[in-house]
Symmetry: C2
């Protein structure tokens, strides 16, 4: 591989400089991505391996990131379990017209065979891996069981998360049945992704942060651990990103993940003191910093590099996905700043 900085940093091995990539880096801020989306709706793009590979590789070529994450969506898993998924442009995010709430609806969900129902993801990974020609490592991903359950039970975006909260608080056995099924589905899905060519996998727990700490451990982290235990990794590092879960950083670090992703509300220096000797850390620039001029972005990058300090085990990233209206030049300036400012921390 030409550039394996990301894999080495994930294993806390020595690197010449800190690797950098961006969550949601294949996305709307790129004119080249928008050009493809003008011809193709979102789900068709996810399900057409040639196009998914093309947009996945765009940020490698245009922005110069050190890792390629496959273009896909976490909600293809519930769809493969039998739920109708609707993604309409500019209509407030994806939705499931028939949410899953009762025990019989939960029992009715099927465990998908990732190599048939989710074949398009595996094909996209194989093709992307081939087309990358070893330039940078390829990352596969999935939503966490809890985060998928949240979407499946709410059916659409929510402010209060009333339905999933009622499920766990008033019907915990049903919630556990759903989460147990999801852990099996996600475990098989991530295993198949590694088979298909993913060299690392990231688990996104976008909604872990809506839970109190005890419930986070019971309904989210426990099932993530189950997934991590299930996946035959074949050496692929596992990145775990739980948004707004700083309260449980120590427990997250003991999940079996190799890399813990940090949002921007955690001080990365403090996180390193707390857990950074057992896992690598990924993060954690506030994504809105990319609205500011390049020199301000560079200053913010230096601050985070300084907070992490010398030595290996840091994968630079944003603290959440890149925002769709960020100027491309700012994304480039961010990646360039990490490349230029980080070597002194690895001497």
């Amino acid at each position: 591989m030409t550039n394996d900085l990301f894999l080495r940093a994930s294993r806390r091995e020595d690197v010449e400089r800190t690797p950098v990539w961006m969550m949601r880096q294949a996305g709307r801020y790129l004119p080249e991505y928008r050009a493809i989306r003008e011809q193709t709706d979102f789900l068709t793009l996810c399900k057409t391996p040639e196009l998914a590979a093309e947009v996945s590789i765009q940020p490698v070529e245009i922005i110069g990131v050190d890792a390629c994450i496959i273009f896909s969506d976490i909600l293809v898993v519930p769809e493969a379990m039998g739920m109708e998924l609707i993604v309409e442009e500019g209509r407030g995010g994806p939705r499931f017209p028939t949410a899953v709430r009762s025990r019989s609806e939960i029992d009715h969900l099927r465990l998908p065979d990732p190599n048939s129902e989710l074949r398009f993801v595996m094909d996209a990974l194989s093709l992307t891996r081939k087309e990358l020609k070893g330039r940078v490592p390829l990352i596969g991903f999935s939503g966490s069981p809890w985060t998928l359950a949240t979407y499946m039970v709410e059916g659409k975006g929510s402010k209060t998360f009333r339905h999933i909260k009622e499920l766990i608080y008033a019907h915990p056995k049903d919630a556990h049945a759903l989460l147990d099924k999801l852990a099996q589905a996600v475990g098989a899905y991530l295993g198949a992704q590694i088979e298909a060519g993913a060299q690392a996998i990231q688990i996104f727990d976008t909604w872990g942060g809506i839970l109190p700490p005890d419930e986070f451990k019971e309904f989210s982290l426990g099932y993530i651990q189950q997934v991590i235990d299930l996946v035959p990794r074949q050496g692929a590092p596992v990145i775990l990103f739980c948004k707004d879960c700083g309260h449980s950083l120590e427990a997250i670090a003991k999940s079996g993940a190799d890399v813990v992703g940090l949002d921007w509300t955690i001080d990365i220096g403090r996180a390193r003191e707390m857990i950074g000797s057992s896992v690598a850390l990924q993060g954690n620039l506030d994504p809105t910093m990319l609205y500011t001029p390049p020199e301000r972005i560079r200053q913010a990058v230096k601050t985070i590099l300084g907070k992490f300090g010398k030595g290996p085990g840091h994968v630079f990233n944003l603290g959440h996905g890149i925002l769709p209206d960020v100027p491309v030049e700012h994304a480039k300036a961010f990646v360039q700043a990490v490349k230029e400012e980080s070597p002194i921390f690895h001497r």
Copy 2:
């Protein structure tokens, strides 16, 4: 005063049982509140002392809470500083049609005299205090300078908070000018509230949690401390509620506040270990727990009482405002459960 449990608990004095109230307790979940709102729009209700007093006292009489918080809105302060405020029913929250973003717009904001431009709040407090007849203490409140600035700069609700983030990251001097003016305005406003009859005051930092820890301290907590230093308290305890700011709990506890409000993502037992010997704690039931049946609510109340443990310094509350579609019977069951389950923790 007939029932001063709330004030004693706020000062970490001995109590016979844990006092309880709910943020947003004068609100839409109450049919009696909705009956008044059918005749009166939101801002008129805020600005009519007789009606504001009536809805403020409703939860004391209907739900049996141990404190009365004045019915008002944090955005009356920016309005009094010269901004046009629009609150339209069911149109996605309040908004300022002309947001404040440039330095000249910031400099143009005036420092209101709370006893003239915000007279209606003072009159509502005096009237409510009189009509309470000492049944329970009366709480006044304000948004924190940072939270008010967020609304003033964004102009309306936001997912990314792009404009306020650009202001602090790219134009920090302008941000400090705005926040300094707001700290003066809020300090004078809270001082006037105590003069008018408030026996405690709560500072709501609803949006502190969108900041990284360093920026939270610089742009939010620092100005809250300025407010607390400015206010002639006359013995009134200060409650500080910073939502999603668990990362800075120790710093929040050193702000000078008497009571630290906790949202539901912090373990109250852990918070007590960390800071509970210097301040009282308020919270922290997940507001969505009130969607579940009374026996489940009671179990959750017992869990939180057990986590806090024996001894004084706990004011029970939700971890955020009560939700508008909660059944009234569940709110009553919550308050009743605290009253019945807490005495054994005070023997």
